[in-house]
């Protein structure tokens, strides 16, 4: 049995070596994707282009605007003299946000007292809502900056300190770098993309060429076929794992707080799932095109979106949350992020390990069952 599997593995490697284009993609694609995702996949909202209309031109209005100018969240791209001018800026996308400080702003502040601010001066902020997420976050920043401005005004008047003070500690990611969250996730996603795609072709390609029948009349067993097809790609996947971890740690300086060994072990269990998935797709497809389309559209993309990679699962409707429990990527994301950022171990992550392991065995069994040699 071992000889037969070895022969199959050896053959797969020769084929891979003779396909330089594919080989290059297998190595280059993950690195390219990781760098791209590592840098780009940030949901942080920074450098929001802001247009300002200062209708007051008083020291107070300049104080407020200065707060925005010095904030990393906003870039003041333009100053308009009339409020009506901001419309064009927002329409063309030149600015996402417009802030209009009314005339009399400074005077009203000097008149008001913190205890009874009957008609406080009001600044108007207009957001381009087409990018709902960024706008929402940017508006929250505006509230925050104006809140700080308020506090400093109150302190100036000796209004005393606020009653409650939140001492906030952010665990795991004190600088709130979304990269620290995304990059470990990229590891999970890349593995899925590379290995599931490769293996989804593994059997169907032989079916298209006609060699599958030839294999099926040899004493090569179902599980031997699955193993022989799986191991070479598992190796390729594992190389990708090491590559991605190295880039994440040394290039992106993502903290790796937990055990590397546990991470590698988890990757292996996860590979079982992704490879099994690819093989399963391979067994239900009759052409390579079908296999690729099925893998990408029915599996990869839905998983990508529903796993919590970008969109938090806790924000989804309950029904969808139940659906996500069927996605192995979900569990691996918890594991990678847990190991990287929280440094937690098996005592906490065992449910995810168990879920993933069960999933992997199930899909492999399904693939083996489907690859049942006779139609």
């Amino acid at each position: 049995m071992r000889r037969r599997i070895r022969a199959l593995i050896w053959k797969e490697f020769i084929e891979l070596r003779r396909s330089p284009q594919l080989l290059r993609l297998v190595i280059v694609a993950p690195i390219l994707q990781l760098t791209m995702l590592g840098y780009a996949a940030t949901t942080d909202v920074r450098h929001v282009p802001l247009v300002v209309v200062d209708g007051d031109r008083s020291p107070r209005s300049r104080q407020l605007i200065e707060r925005f100018a010095s904030s990393p969240y906003f870039d003041i791209v333009k100053e308009e003299s009339r409020p009506s001018a901001v419309e064009a800026d927002l329409a063309t996308g030149g600015a996402w946000l417009a802030m209009i400080v009314p005339a009399g702003f400074g005077r009203d502040i000097e008149r008001a007292t913190p205890a009874i601010a009957a008609s406080p001066p009001t600044i108007q902020v207009i957001a381009d809502g087409t990018d709902a997420n960024s706008s929402g976050v940017a508006l929250a920043y505006v509230q925050g900056l104006v809140g700080e401005f308020n506090t400093s005004l109150a302190e100036e008047r000796g209004a005393g300190t606020p009653a409650l003070e939140g001492r906030v500690r952010i665990w795991f990611n004190p600088d709130l770098e979304s990269r620290n969250f995304m990059v470990p996730g990229v590891l999970a996603v890349l593995l899925l993309i590379v290995t599931a795609n490769l293996t989804s072709m593994a059997i169907v390609r032989e079916r298209e060429i006609g060699t599958l029948d030839q294999l099926n009349v040899t004493p090569l067993g179902r599980w031997e076929m699955i193993l022989g097809k799986l191991l070479p790609y598992a190796l390729v996947g594992f190389v990708d794992v090491l590559l991605v971890i190295a880039v994440a740690v040394f290039w992106f300086a993502v903290p790796l707080r937990g055990s590397v060994l546990l991470l590698l072990a988890a990757s292996l269990v996860y590979l079982l799932c992704t490879l099994g998935l690819g093989l399963f797709v391979s067994t239900i497809s009759s052409t390579q095109q079908q296999a690729m389309m099925t893998a990408t559209f029915f599996i990869l993309i839905p998983m990508l979106y529903l796993s919590g990679f970008i969109f938090p699962i806790e924000n989804m409707p309950h029904v969808i949350q139940y659906v996500t429990t069927l996605i192995p990527l979900r569990y691996f994301l918890v594991i990678v992020r847990g190991i990287f950022l929280k440094g937690v171990g098996l005592s906490i992550l065992w449910p995810q390990f168990a879920a993933m392991g069960a999933w992997g065995v199930a899909i492999l069994a399904l693939a083996a069952f489907r690859s049942h040699k006779r139609a």
Partner: protein, 365 residues
């Protein structure tokens, strides 16, 4: 042109036979639309909160009640020990822990500033930032109910949101969705359909027939252009029906921009097909140069302005970026063609460039 027509008819027949591809062309847009419409959003509600109340005074209970009352937090555990609180975060059972220290009530009664400790799981920076905002808001609100404190803000902010007043994600994601799906169907289908003919050797057959390369390519691309065009329009109409997407601009402008974009996408597929020798490579390459940048570098999900400068420059060659700006401009802002001309211009340049490259590469053989 008649031979281009023959190729186009053949291609359409093949598409019709291939049930799964057809299913994908229909399933994918629908799936995404409903996914975006119902499932995916960054709106954060029901943040799991654990509470460690070491004071257990009426003030501390008031504060906890204030958190419970807010729609943002779900209190999942109360009066925990330090260790339990830490474990709750480690396990992901709680995203935030509120620690009310002993002496909290006393400080308030004395009119001093009372500290509360807030521990936030920062793994997802985006969520954490929002949660932090919520916590601050609840604290500020509670603060005004405490004795002898300022009751009002000195300066008010009056926020107004244009084009999408409720800040609904759907409205913002649908244009991105169209870009993504069109890019996939156009690039992948064109590339695969040509490489498949290469692989099977039918390409030689067609080359022997009196069909010029140009008609061949035109014939290949035409069905996908038509399919993708109707696909894009169908998404818009469905989004209008199911998710109240406003359509503020002209349909003519919309069609124009969609077609220019699709031509560029088909051209990209052609370029891929001239590079790749096998379907597998073609698919991987298409995913790498078309799908990924469209998803990541177009401003579809991740805001471009927050990216490093280098990536912002790279995104300049991603057609979806311009398409999104133009599409959002036309659909949501009601701009006309003259207002979006820079985007159309960029898309046209891209289309000409990729068609040029593929023509050169096809001609070389």
């Amino acid at each position: 042109m008649r031979s281009a027509w023959a190729v186009a008819i053949k291609e359409l027949r093949q598409i019709r036979r291939d049930r799964r591809t057809l299913t994908i062309l229909i399933f994918v847009p629908t799936f995404f639309l409903f996914l975006y419409g119902y499932a995916l959003n960054f709106d954060i509600r029901h943040v799991a909160m654990a509470i460690e109340d070491r004071d257990d005074s009426s003030w501390s209970r008031d504060l906890i009640a204030a958190f419970q009352r807010s729609t943002y937090f779900d209190v999942v555990g109360e009066t925990l020990s330090d260790r339990e609180a830490a474990a709750a975060i480690d396990r992901g059972q709680a995203r935030v822990v509120l620690v009310v220290p002993s002496g909290f009530g006393r400080d308030i009664d004395r009119g001093e500033t009372a500290d509360v400790q807030v521990i936030i799981d920062g793994d997802n920076a985006n969520t954490a930032t929002t949660v932090l905002g919520y916590v601050t808001a609840v604290l500020r609100l509670s603060s005004t109910t405490m004795p002898g404190r300022p009751v009002a803000q000195m300066v008010n902010v009056e926020p107004r949101v244009w084009y999408n007043p409720e800040l609904r994600s759907t409205v913002f994601l649908v244009p991105g969705l169209i870009a993504f799906i069109s890019m996939i169907t156009a690039v992948v289908s064109t590339a695969l359909s040509i490489v498949r003919e290469k692989e099977r050797g039918t390409m030689e057959q067609i080359r022997m027939a009196p069909v010029s390369t140009l008609s061949f390519v035109a014939g290949k691309a035409l069905p996908y252009l038509v399919l993708s065009f109707f696909g894009a329009m169908a998404i818009i109409v469905a989004a209008m029906i199911f998710f109240d997407l406003p359509m503020r601009g002209s349909w003519l402008a919309l069609s124009a921009i969609v077609i220019v974009f699709l031509i560029g996408a088909l051209g990209t597929g052609l370029v891929v097909s001239t590079i790749a020798d096998t379907q597998q490579v073609a698919f991987q390459a298409a995913a790498l140069i078309a799908m990924l940048p469209t998803l990541i570098l177009s401003g579809f999900i991740f805001p471009l302005a927050s990216m490093p400068i280098v990536l912002q420059y790279i995104s300049a060659i991603v057609p979806a970026r311009y398409f999104l700006v133009a599409l959002r401009g036309i659909v949501l802002k009601g701009l006309d063609l003259t207002a979006v001309w820079p985007s159309i211009g960029a898309l046209a340049i891209y289309a000409v460039a990729v068609l040029g490259v593929s023509a050169v590469r096809l001609g070389r053989r």
